[in-house]
Symmetry: C2
Subunit: 404 residues, 2 copies
Amino acid sequence: MSKIAILGFGTVGSGTVEVFCKNKSSYEKNIGKELDIKYILDIRDFPDSPYADKFVKNFDVIANDPEITVVAELIGGNTFAYDCVKRALEAGKSVVTSNKELVATKGAELLKIAREKNVSFFFEASVGGGIPIIRPLGQCLMSDEIISIAGILNGTTNYILTKMLKEGAEFSEVLAKAQELGYAERDPEADISGGDACRKICILASLIFGNHIYPEDVYTEGVTSITKEDAEYATDWGGVIKLIASACRIDDKKLEITVCPNFVPFESQLSGVDDVFNAILVRGEATGEVVFYGRGAGKYPTASAVVADILNALKSESKSLIWDAYRAGCVADYRKQKHRFYLRLMNTSRKNVKALFGEVAFLNRKNTPEGEIAFVTAEITREELDRKCENLDVKGKIQILDIT
Amino acid sequence: MSKIAILGFGTVGSGTVEVFCKNKSSYEKNIGKELDIKYILDIRDFPDSPYADKFVKNFDVIANDPEITVVAELIGGNTFAYDCVKRALEAGKSVVTSNKELVATKGAELLKIAREKNVSFFFEASVGGGIPIIRPLGQCLMSDEIISIAGILNGTTNYILTKMLKEGAEFSEVLAKAQELGYAERDPEADISGGDACRKICILASLIFGNHIYPEDVYTEGVTSITKEDAEYATDWGGVIKLIASACRIDDKKLEITVCPNFVPFESQLSGVDDVFNAILVRGEATGEVVFYGRGAGKYPTASAVVADILNALKSESKSLIWDAYRAGCVADYRKQKHRFYLRLMNTSRKNVKALFGEVAFLNRKNTPEGEIAFVTAEITREELDRKCENLDVKGKIQILDIT
């Protein structure tokens, strides 16, 4: 008999218990032994829950129970959750988590403890919800050198950008609607600022690069400044606007990693990823381009990834993937990397634009107001772009996706 | 030191040796021991190859060498390759293969031997080339119930159909061009008849269903009868024509499994999969829809999947996925399953069509010849459809994809 503890009975926690209990007998057949959720940790009371007798309020009960072999941390945040996960690993229990903040900020440390204690630390659900990405990436990685990853990793902002583009609506209107539908949190800050996508790309980048990459080292720009005018110009250019989190190996020692809105050309597989869906494009030297697509969030998709991790931990066949501690200087200065950019300016002339930026591709939209000029530059560093924009009235500035 | 034998030095075999040797030192770091390709089996001579000293012509050398722990079978076919794989497994060596014919016809038997000998039998490269699909599917499967799989599993036919649709060309012209470009074999029979896609969907279906599904039980229709007229009607309907291999769980005991051209709506993620690319859409009860996309063939993508399997076998952390022998009656009669169908008829009238098929959605194209009528039926079994078509002059008949 293997006994499991669930930490947190929110959306993902309750979904995990539900999926687990529904399929328990087939899991037992697969694993070859009886399985049981012994504890559910939550500070709230659930007197009417069918699992009422499993609830505990003190983590000590779980940490000190030698029967518990796997702990699923579904609390979120990196304070109390961090404490629980660390103690569980130190007590020789395997841990699985859907907590991207925890993995992005404490991953290297927790993986090291797991390795020392010879237990598993899995976090498939922390990126892309129900999309298998961490383990397949580990598999690709084993045989191939990953050159770049570019992903739509946040469903809320993707829903907002999709609606803005398809319905010509403004950001604030669509955000309000997304909150009404439950696609966006009441406090949408982590989503719309790009912070959520940033944590996820940090996890993927740490995996492919082998050193921990911290969110604070990543240039992160949200979607709040995107307007429907920019979306119209994107259409004219031949693409859509998406919040792209990307990591690209510059050489063996350096990685470019950013989260920002991008013009994504229609030819890219990422351009057709709409609404709350996520997709991750991985480019390997031998493998070429591979895309993983699916629901990046939601109770049941995330829960099924958590349960798969629990079963993997119970089988203890595959040990944790691993990365080392942060190495100073491994994140390249994003201002010095060259990209093309879309710019929308007011109160200037094509002549002036040409004088400053040389040959550019001008864009058009219906009912262009007097003095508005939009175009796509040649390749230029952000540093130089910002310098050239100093005396300009910039209304829109969006990177062009060159990892297609 | 772990020693490996490569069987077959064709495209995939030479690619495997190349990828392996290029990244050998990083693999050794990952696995934690020295690795070496000791033998390459091929009946041909390669006197100028840098690996000339490794070539052998008799499989006995490999089977009888206790130093060899992993054998990679990259010969193809299910006669000599089958004999080698069976003997290797029986000799207690792990085997990896890219050979879909072998796995689709002998999978259950070989998996059983691998289990008895406690060695691995991996075949990630047999479906989808470099796209990780077998192992992620195993992972999804562990926690979730897979309801259906629908895939574009053959790059050659997808290239042909893409060109027909985009350039308004006829099948035979595009096939000739594909052969010229090396996308299609000189003998393209296995591709254009649907046979190649059929073997691949059998492997995926065996995995999700748990019983071996044989190619001869699968209704398989190729792409040779698709015309540019049908492609024009697909556009009017709002989609494209793709060769879809699909398996769908009807109940615990029965599976519908077919390979045939389908009208795929633009809303489906499969509609945007063009040229030689492959994609596999997996629908799980909890996970929802997940799509895996990438290069389904080619020297290096396939080789990188083979090498990943070799490394997995060497780590011997993850044992083979498993399915049982064939169970009579597990494949449902495809003629009795309901779908919508596109029909193109000559020498009839809308009145006649309505009398036979009830309310249908008529389609249009430019310069429709006198007497041509195209439409999409309501749901109907193939059996009933064929009966109704008996006295009609049918020019085109294509299933509508309802697994979107």
